[in-house]
């Protein structure tokens, strides 16, 4: 009997990490060859890893939700019988033939040796603080024996033309890559007479999110960056352009005293029967918007250019604009008009969680009739949203904040929220839109009767 370690493979041509979605085996399980072991999610896909061995599971590395590095141990097996030379090549830690002086890993195809610096650079993206992090400015250049300083051909040429020896420079690019800026800095290091130098303003080094990706910081990113328009970004831009240039947008908005909603939600959360139910102003907005549609079905309509008809629907598929790691996506809750408070809260939970986990299916994004976008969590009061194509209206909820409010001619402190709604002015007029928004506003102002009596 001997131990064999299955290293997390690169299942998608150049991936560096994967998240554990579900374990399908436990320690002590006896598995056969190609038996499903674990579901992992990469930047490209969620895939099932089949077992490379027949044997007993001795150890599992990582828990569900953990992000694991490609090439690191995932599962340890105990296998019986003879291990041929071929099998020992599969992730045998430190055993078996060691080729070309580098550790053999399961990721052996098409990418050269795993610890080659160039490979680490290309793959480095989100793992902060590891050995391939940028070398600090001013740190001594580390010469790698036998290898030229790391740079790119145009920069090498530029340096050569200007008499700069790359070996004397410390690269500030990713993983210590020497950039054109580094060469220029070396060239301008002699002070210009008469000019008063400014202290360097580098900006923060923290990254931020943009179009579904991690955007490099002001300090470390390139001066200009181009991002291919595809995937979720492409969907968003297509939908917005289609809507903005086919559907004449108009908007109405209203400020509402939502103190009673805030109080009601606080008291419902204490209720024993509702423990575990995630209730929020979004739950109330979803119920209120559906109720408004039941009273004014015209809002739940779309304009069909192809047939020259307006389509009124008496069922609401309620879209929820979700800010996800991949970008903006709008899954919907089917037949939302049929849901009560608890059902609505759990339906919202499901669609939002799936959107954030990236498991929303195309089915769940088709057939939206009305949409809610909640910009409150971003700390703004209101927004004028673009209507998703093929729908009648979209409701935007602002943040809830204490504000001076007039009650019985007295200025008092109340919780106030702004609601805004964009609508397709081809078939929906201002009177209908105002009636709908006022209905939603009244629901928030006094939610208990609306929830109980409908």
């Amino acid at each position: 009997m001997s131990e064999r370690t299955f290293l997390l493979p690169d299942v998608g041509e150049g991936l560096v990490e994967a998240e554990i979605v579900a374990w399908k085996v436990r320690v002590g399980d006896v598995v056969v060859l190609n038996q499903p072991l674990v579901d992992i999610e990469t930047a490209k896909a969620t895939v099932e890893l089949p077992s490379p061995y027949a044997g007993t599971v001795v150890a599992l590395h990582g828990n569900v939700g953990d992000v694991m590095e490609v090439g690191k141990p995932l599962i340890v097996f105990e296998v019986g019988g003879d291990i041929g030379p071929a099998e020992s090549a599969v992730g045998a830690e430190g055993s078996g033939p060691v080729a070309e002086g580098v550790g053999r890993t399961a990721v052996l195809v098409g990418y050269g040796v795993a610890d080659e610096e160039a490979v680490a650079t290309r793959r480095h993206r989100r793992t902060a603080g590891d050995s391939s992090a940028p070398t600090p400015v001013g740190a001594p250049a580390v010469a790698t024996p036998g290898l030229a300083p790391r740079s790119t051909p145009p920069v090498r040429l530029y340096a050569k033309q200007h008499g700069v020896d790359l070996a004397t420079l410390a690269g500030t690019g990713r993983a210590g890559l020497i950039t054109r800026d580094d060469v220029e800095r070396a060239l301008s290091s002699s002070p210009v007479p008469g000019a008063r130098p400014s202290a360097p303003i580098t900006g923060p080094t923290s990254t931020s999110r943009f179009v579904g990706r991690e955007l490099e910081s002001w300090a470390t990113g390139p001066k200009e960056e181009r991002i291919a328009v595809k995937g979720v970004l492409r969907s968003m831009s297509d939908a917005m352009v289609q809507s903005a240039f086919t559907s004449p947008h108009a908007a109405v908005w209203v400020r509402v005293d939502v103190t009673r909603t805030v109080e009601l939600l606080a008291s419902l959360k204490q209720h024993a029967n509702l423990s575990g139910v995630r209730l929020s102003p979004l739950t109330i907005a979803a119920l209120a918007f559906c109720d408004a549609a039941r009273h004014f079905p015209g809002i739940n309509s779309s304009f069909d250019n192809a047939t020259n008809e307006v389509v009124v629907r008496r069922t609401v598929n309620l879209g929820i604009a979700a800010d996800t790691p991949r970008g903006l996506i709008v899954p919907n809750i089917k037949d939302a008009d049929q849901l009560d408070l608890v059902a609505m809260a759990s339906a919202l939970d499901v669609v939002v969680d799936k959107a954030r986990n990236g498991t929303t299916t195309p089915n769940e994004m088709i057939g939206t009739t009305l949409t809610i976008t909640n910009v409150g969590p971003f700390g703004v009061d209101a927004a004028m949203p673009i209507i998703p194509p093929g729908t009648g209206a979209i409701l935007a909820m602002g943040q809830i904040a204490k504000a001076p409010w007039v009650v019985n001619d007295q200025v008092v402190v109340r919780y106030v929220m702004e609601l805004a709604m964009s609508f397709d002015h081809r078939q929906i007029d201002g009177a209908l839109a105002s009636a709908v928004l006022a209905h939603v506003g009244r629901f928030f102002q006094d939610p208990a009767p609306a929830l109980i009596a409908g």
């Binding site: 490209k44 896909a45 895939v47 890993t105 052996l108 195809v109 036998g146 299916t361 195309p362």
Partner: protein, 355 residues
């Protein structure tokens, strides 16, 4: 079921269809042979997918769902014919006699090709979309000039049908009346792009615009694919010129192991095509018409498992090639740029121990 002009000899339920134009010439033994081919190819594909998921292949392009299109076309070929595949023609490679482990070399990145094209009369896979159709037409023009009675068949998909290379190859094939069959597997998806976006007319209609016949065959019906392709190849060998065969089929799995089709296509569509599975309908025919016993199918499954296990052993035993070996196959003779690249790699200390 899909198109009234679709040639079909076997329904998804495994019942024979009377066709005025084509009839099946195959015996029960031959049909069983096709069943065996398809089952083994599917098994090779599933093992290769597992090997990729285990870090042993860089990539794999699954063929699941297209077995009938490939076995029907592959078995219609004569040994002397020559074929130009894409990276997904594992069923064609199987019919040409390429050992399964050789099919995986390029996916394990230990070879730029995998086999000797002359030995199997099957070119190495072309990854650049549509390029192989130009190579094939050029080869077919050579066949004409040799006066040989051979046909050439080239393979591509609905996505590549939009490539300029493919359309240019149609023009040349038509102008010179070359002995070629363009075998288009319309598997409905060019990675994430539906074929309905690629073309506003059925793809086989395009051939008419270039001046040669096009025909659409149920690509999940191995009997129909065999007869249609066989006639097109015979026509090519006797100077009848090119034919476009559109095998209407479906890619049941991902485009490659790097792809996640659930992000762009709906489950309901996949469910519809599951009922049109190319292997199940042949099995139904064999059971009902030829009274083939369950044990015969079990034997094929066991044989496929043996092929898969041998494939696994062979792949795991493949050594990493010397990086310098890649310079050996770029040109037939020495070339100054290639030599410079080789020298630089030696200076950088990459490879070269055995050369």
């Amino acid at each position: 079921m899909i198109d009234e002009e679709l040639v079909q000899l076997l329904t998804p339920e495994g019942e024979r269809v009377d066709s005025t134009e084509y009839e099946s010439s195959l015996s029960g033994d031959e049909i069983f042979g096709f069943y065996r081919d398809m089952a083994i190819v599917r098994r090779i594909c599933s093992e290769a997918t597992s090997l990729q998921r285990q870090g042993q292949l860089a990539l794999w392009a699954p063929v699941q769902g297209q077995e009938a299109a490939q076995i029907g076309a592959g078995r219609a070929l004569a040994p002397t014919d020559f074929t130009f595949p894409t990276y997904r023609e594992h069923g064609i490679a199987w019919c040409r006699g390429v050992p399964p482990e050789d099919m995986l070399r390029i996916f394990r990145a230990v070879s730029n090709g995998g086999w000797d094209p002359q030995k199997y009369r099957h070119s190495t896979p072309t990854v650049v979309l549509g390029n192989q159709t130009l190579n094939a037409v050029g080869y077919a023009m050579g066949v004409q000039r040799d006066g040989a009675e051979e046909a050439v068949m080239t393979f591509f998909g609905d996505g590549a049908s939009s490539q300029g290379d493919v359309l240019e190859s149609f023009v040349w094939a038509s102008s010179f009346n070359t002995p070629i069959v363009f075998f288009l597997q319309n598997n409905q998806w060019a990675i994430s792009e539906p074929s309905s976006l690629q073309t506003k007319i059925p793809l086989y209609h395009r051939a008419h615009g270039f001046g040669f016949p096009g025909i659409r065959v149920d690509g999940n019906d191995v009997l129909a694919v065999y007869e249609v392709t066989k006639r097109a190849l015979e026509n090519a060998r006797v100077g009848g010129g090119p034919t476009l065969v559109e095998a209407y089929t479906y890619r049941m799995g991902a485009h490659t192991t790097s792809d996640d089709p659930t992000r762009y296509r709906i489950d309901a569509e996949v469910e519809v095509w599951k009922h049109r599975d190319p292997i199940e309908r042949v099995k139904a025919l064999l059971v009902h018409e030829y009274k083939v016993k369950a044990t015969a199918f079990d034997e094929v499954a066991a044989e496929a498992d043996v092929v898969a296990l041998k494939l696994r052993d062979d792949v795991l035993a493949m050594d990493r090639p010397d990086p310098l070996s890649m310079f050996e196959h770029a040109y037939a003779a020495s070339h100054p740029l290639v030599e410079e690249g080789r020298r630089e790699m030696i200076e950088l200390g990459i490879g070269g121990s055995s050369h």
